[in-house]
Subunit: 368 residues, 4 copies
């Protein structure tokens, strides 16, 4: 059974509510609970198309566990234009990234661990989830209020915290498909068949994927300190689908099938329905996922192809100085990197300041 | 001989001047004077690459007449970022389009026509140009000052007014190459070999091309009212090179050669050096150059190919309503146009409000 | 009887409608129909408070004619933030001023005049209003769609066109109270008791006041050309209440009473209920309402007091150049004007470019 | 001797450098070295006027130690307009606050402490400062480049790191004068005579004041862990002068004298030249410096006076809902706080979303 509701996540100066659409798919049996959202950054629209294709697949193959999907998860970000483009990456009032405002207070980990050191896994799971929900509710009840971004984030997180699997669908600026993989889930992440992967640690700095896995991962780490091995009971991934400001609904079918491949390996269905093409999967650690910042202001030709090996010293980009055309030697410079890499994404505009993030690249790569 | 200077076109709150680079190429003999500028809209960078390629050609084939070229003509627009993109189409304080602030006061036309009705053409040309320059200088000397955009526009116009040929290099958002052609210059415009053309009347609404040709064209019209046929003595074109925020310096060579083909037919060289490929050239009148505005808010797949015939009723775009995914009939709508057309450009973002300019198309087309 | 409805004026990318609240007050008898709107520019909030106080007055003294009031008339503008301030003066996508998108096509004036040259005034009024409504409906039905700003403007104008009196409540940036008065209504305008007044001609450039009075005024002018004197049958005013981004609900009571004084002289009530304080009223013609643009970039101390005579040569502002502090002579300059004036408003920020509109002032003033 | 230079802190897409003016005042003898900067947030201009008045005082009373002052410290922020206001609080591309990008890597503290545990204070001071400078230089030499904000911050920090006293001049939005005081410097902070004070701990989150005192304070804490008492050898304060977008050069004299009173107590002169009025000084801890976020969207009357006690439950602001005027009970709500407080600042715009930071207030106050 598929139903839809809306959840209020904010209120505009005019008094108009900001609401997100929520699609509930009731599970057929006893599978994992899944939460999927898209478009938390306003310009990153392709995840909505993936949710559309997932919905088609869920209709065709009803899942065992409950699935909740939220397309267009950030109405303020989506509706915020500045010139022709969507200025949806950060709160236009404060500058704070919309994907850095989820909540987790780790101070409860140690007392919780001591209380539940000998409990059953299922009891731990239920009790810990209850604590996480209480944290959210306490925060939402603050007499001093919440920021605009917290209203949005906490209302979404209230849905995500119920899930065993959380997928946050993003895109880069001009970008190849890539995946943020918490290190503990490295093996399972292969089922996404995503060519480029970044392995991330258990830190929490406010993003949805971290907000979903960090509490459980850090709980597992606390149990380990006390000598008990506890699995990380929630999986969460940020999937970067490609480029922002681009919608390709037919193409989203393949992304949806990749996601279903992961989900079927996690038991969302009793059988395996989709069979994605195998693909070469490269990975590196977060510390080796490097950003290169422009050494000068200028206008840019982005030369390096995404998702292709670029040897050290090969041209990454040409930076043009059209204010110095007449001097032959000064009109441009070729930019190279000091080591081998695989370019993942580049900046969206052809005009850059000194310090603009030109490219992000995997270095010290290995097979996932 | 090639020299460079800078011209101050404004001043920032910090006191820093805003300057444009000016490239002067001294003519070898007796050809037309040419003025070419690029990047008056901040995101429209490709014209700078064309100026670079033109400079290479002018070095190889020194022109007969003087050439002045201004790349990066709008430092404030180029440097104005909002999010990752360049917010360079209008003054961020007032909203006024940077290309609507040039000056022409037509009230002098009638008295001038009466004074010079029987003069030689060359005398008319010199006297009229002097008047235009006086208009600019009077305006720039206003004791009440000028707007930021007027400081920019008038300083550029002071250079352009000296020229017999004025080319303003622009791009569209996501766009095919196209040309704005003043109707009187239709025949000559063919030498640009640009596939899509819009024929415009003698009106002046503040753009550089109009500011350059309208005074001369309207002068010709005034002389005609008094029974004398006077040629329009200045040509001016806005060339739309393709898409904004995209730089392709090698590809700019072909645009530069197209421009040189026009220039050599206008006598900038004694011989013809470049031989561009012939191309099919479609045109329509400005009144038939139609914008289609989105009938609703949503996220868009742009389906119609640019520079290809689109029959009436064929899909132009799909507008997706991801807030209504579950209702099969409501999740999207196909957008069509009521007549045959050739799409020229479309909006740059995938998220649109009701009323966003989705596409601009040629209708009622004919061969240029 | 007081009722409220909402009118949809646009749709966001998310699919969320943009709606304005409409307050209808049914008249007790046979008075003029009145339309009042506020906050079409997003930062100009004080008009909403005036509508609140008017509503209180209308409750206390039920009007003879119907009154329609629209507070928060521009939801997109009001909700558009960029940093801490409201970026609500122009469409963030196109830069077009929200108050320049109303519609009037004057080509119908001459044939209409010929058709109705000998008709009764009331017949002319009804027929002309019907034509204006047809114009709006034809425009709204365009198969090519409308811009975002036109959707807003035309939906508001459809309400305003029904009225005999139209009041558009604005504010300046940092501003004294002032009034735009169509010249034909000069005498009646005195009933507003607003100290500073600008007399404007019958031109139409897209603002609400013009869109409301220009058709009727130009109709009167056409009739005059044909020898018949026809009164201008609609009054419309833009009232500038003070400074933007400032709300003072108690203070709005006085503005509401000034408006009621005008309305009671126009017959909205059978008796006169309010008695505003008399005030000195200065005026000048639009051509003498001068803007002064900063001669340089810098940081500004606004010295001249608003609504006080400033003799020629007296300090208007000091422009500071903090990048040149050490040179005693270069660190600042005093700005003066070449003629006597009354300052009306000044820019809202302390940092200005060369060309920023520093002050607007009345010159060549006289008593209203 | 007073000299001026400029330091390049960035480069624009056009190739234009971004430079800050630097004023060097050579000390007469053996006093502390002082670094003062202003306007790192683009709209916060008043600090420039204070630097102007300080310069006048330093001319009159030449200091013993070297003084370096940087007005207009952030050219990109100052020149960034969006509408009429200065959008200068964060990088318009990334959203990152300009005052969160200074650098300090604390990992060197422990080894340094062990190395210098028995050294002379002056030796520790010199060696530690050298290490800090090496950190900055290493960071600036990164082969992967720096962000735009880091280029700015590190170039300023290179100057500040040389100083014994660092003052960063800010303003709030609409704000009373207040001071951020590192707890160790509480007693000395009284010499500023600033009425409202926030006592802050030794954490580092990227601001200039923290970047200047945290390394020295944390060093002192490390020495303490090893049993040696080491004074904090650098003082650093963020001084909030009042409201943004406001310039009052005469009024800045008093702020300059307050600063000089602190400086003369720190030995910048051999005598005491200025005698500021005593003032009541309230303070609270950072954890008690509370922000109140709007519980709903609406338009606001800010009622509570700044720098005046507000008892719990007294009106802080009225939030108006002009879209619900007709329902008497729904048109507005009075906002109160749950405890006594002293309001320090409020939001600059009258239109707020749910979650907008309406006010910041001191709670649990005590005398400084």
């Amino acid at each position: 059974m598929i139903t839809t509701t809306t959840v209020k996540v904010g209120e505009q100066p005019t008094g108009d509510p900001m609401e997100v659409p929520v699609i509930h798919i009731q599970g057929q049996g006893n599978g994992p609970r899944v939460y999927i959202q898209a478009n938390i950054h306003g310009a990153e629209v392709q995840g909505n198309a993936v949710i559309y294709q997932l919905l088609n697949l869920f209709r065709q193959y009803p899942p065992q566990g409950d699935v909740v999907m939220v397309p267009q998860a950030n109405p303020l970000g989506i509706n915020q234009k500045s010139g022709e483009f969507t200025l949806g990456r950060f709160d236009p009032v404060t500058g704070i990234n919309w994907n850095r405002q989820y909540h987790f207070d780790h101070s409860m980990l140690e007392p919780f661990t001591q209380d539940y050191l000998d409990a059953e896994e299922s009891e731990i799971r239920d009790a810990f989830r209850t604590r996480l929900k209480q944290q959210l509710e306490a925060r939402m009840a603050s007499p001093w209020g919440l920021t605009c971004g917290q209203h949005l984030a906490l209302n979404l997180q209230k849905m995500a915290v119920e899930a065993d699997i959380v997928l946050d669908l993003h895109t880069g600026p001009i970008s190849a498909q890539h995946l943020y993989v918490p290190e503990y889930a490295r093996k399972r992440a292969r089922h996404f068949h995503i060519p480029l992967n970044i392995l991330i640690p258990s830190d929490f700095s406010g993003a949805m994927d971290e907000a979903s896995f960090s509490p459980w991962w850090q709980l597992s780490q606390h149990f380990a300190l006390h000598g008990r091995e506890l699995p990380v009971m929630v999986d969460a991934f940020t999937i970067e689908l490609g480029s922002q400001e681009h919608l390709d609904v037919a193409g989203a079918r393949q992304d949806a099938e990749s996601i279903c491949n992961y989900l079927q390996h996690q038991g969302l269905w009793l059988e395996h329905y989709v069979q994605p093409e195998p693909s070469a999967m490269q990975a590196c650690y977060l510390k080796d996922y490097k950003a290169f910042f422009s050494p000068a202001g200028g206008q840019v030709e982005y030369l390096a192809k995404l998702n292709q090996q670029l040897p050290a010293g090969e041209p990454l980009a040409t930076l043009w100085h059209f204010n110095a055309l007449v001097g032959e030697s000064s009109h441009s410079r070729t930019i190279t990197l000091p080591c081998d890499c695989i370019p993942v994404l580049h900046f969206a505009s052809a005009s850059v300041q000194q310090g603009t993030e030109l490219y992000k690249v995997l270095t010290n790569t290995f097979r996932l």
